[in-house]
């Protein structure tokens, strides 16, 4: 608790901790690109990233640029009580986007730009990016 009259310090939003599997994704975001892992043996996309293809078990893969276009698979509107870092954004809309390249195997969680109206499942969305602390992460908009 802070003393009466003293505003609590604004908490930083949590950012991704890169690991050897996720670094290429976050590095691409920093360059304004949305990418996903694709198996070079059988061609299947996969997300979240992992060392092996769950279909053919190959370790071989590449990172492919995506169009950044997809459709709303589901969404929520979050209200307090929230972590301090998110309380100042509330209420906010988070969503799961099914990417056009492979709506079954490429579903990504994201947040909707605050200016966007309430979405509906199936609405088209386009990726953009936002800077959070020292990182860049996707931020989606309708259309």
């Amino acid at each position: 608790m802070t003393a009466a009259g003293t505003p609590p310090p604004v908490a930083d939003r949590p950012v991704p901790r890169r690991d050897e599997g996720s670094a290429p994704f976050w590095e691409a975001c920093a360059q304004g690109r949305l990418v996903a892992q694709r198996c070079t043996a059988c061609g299947r996309f996969r997300f979240p990233p992992r060392p092996t293809c769950p279909a053919c078990r190959s370790f071989e893969h590449r990172w492919e640029d995506l169009s950044g276009r997809g459709r709303v698979w589901s969404w929520i509107r979050a209200h307090p009580p929230l972590l301090p870092a998110f309380a100042e954004l509330a209420p906010y809309i988070a969503l799961v986007v099914a990417l056009d390249e492979d709506p079954i195997h490429l579903r990504m969680i994201g947040r909707l730009e605050p200016a966007c109206p309430e979405p509906a499942i199936g609405d088209p969305v386009q990726v953009g990016f936002e800077r959070v602390v020292d990182q860049v992460i996707p931020l989606w908009r309708l259309g």
Binding site: D12, R13, P14, V15, P16, R17, R18, D19, S22, F47, P48, P54, W73, S74, W75, I76, R77, A78, H79, L82, L83, F86, L89, P91, Y92, A94, V96, I104, H105, R107, M108, I109, G110, R111, I121, V132, V133, Q135, I137, P138
Partner: protein, 382 residues
Amino acid sequence: MSGRQAAIAGMGLLPFSKNLGRPERTAALEVILQALAEAGMGADDVDGVVRTTMESTTDAHIAFCLGIPDLRFFGEVGHGGGSGCALVGHAALAVEAGVAEVVVVYRARNRSTGGRPWAQAGNQVGGDAQWSVPFGVVRPVDQIAMLARRYMHECGITTRHFGEVAVACRSHAARNPGAQMRDPITLQDHAAARPVSEPLRLFDCCLESDGAVAFVVTTLERARGGARPPVLIRAHAQGVGPEHVVMTSYHSENPLQSTATFAARNLYRRSEVGPNDIQCAQLYDAFSPLVLMSLEAYGFCGPGEGGAFAEDGGLQWPAGRLPVNTSGGSLSEAYVHGFNLIAEGVRQVRGTSTAQVAGLEHCLVSSGSGVPTSALILGAYR
């Protein structure tokens, strides 16, 4: 088959509360001793201990404190609310295989010392959480709300159907002096409550509770010597399914086919008991939509029919087709990661529930879906 049948011989329980009033370790030891006393046993009889990975007290430390002389079987199951039924299942496996004779299962939760895992996110989040937490999908309610809206969309489920679950649980809790929330609510109350993570509102969310529960699992032969009738463990199973991500399980080909779907398959595959032989169920209800999805997963109705089942009063004691969460469940009795649901399953089989199903033969208990999960069929010993 070795011919050994596992049974629950004793249960220990501290009152559910907002403040347990003692450390988790002390509470765990108290309920284990209670459960042993009910089973007509002492700590010297125990040769197995299993725990959930969330538990703050280790198996070896339980043995250290209780002076268990020769602990021969110990293990743990992960994934929070998905682990409860699996722990009883692992204990039954050990007993039926002859690896152990008397296995203790326990859970003690004191939020003032244990805390909430989701609230401990630091400024950098790794592992699976890096794909959800930075975008504000942080709390369990956010993670399940995302699935709930998709379930509504695909299956014609409405928030009113969620309300039916909340109202049924509360009406059962009103009969249970041990429940934390006992004032009846209506569908209107449910719809008017504050949103937490839309489409979910306050009464769609479980309570936050302190509590401690323990069970003694042993052979039917030894369970017959206890103060209470043995509760047969007729079936137990775990399940995950393909490409599951814990809590944010949106990445498999069909995320609405939850981990419970796979646990159910495994459960019935190894049992002569089917959904039609079950008169009561304790379905994991951290959030109300999970109950509807579990009705479908465990075969009590067809896919997409969970809402209609609830709307027809199917969950309500005593007249419903399948009275569910007869102690009030996690939504109205207490939330201790589903261990209270196992306790209510035991009471139903013993005939001591405050919403007792007459002539009960079998009660199904499920652990959390949305995570790697597990389930039990408990049966009466005649």
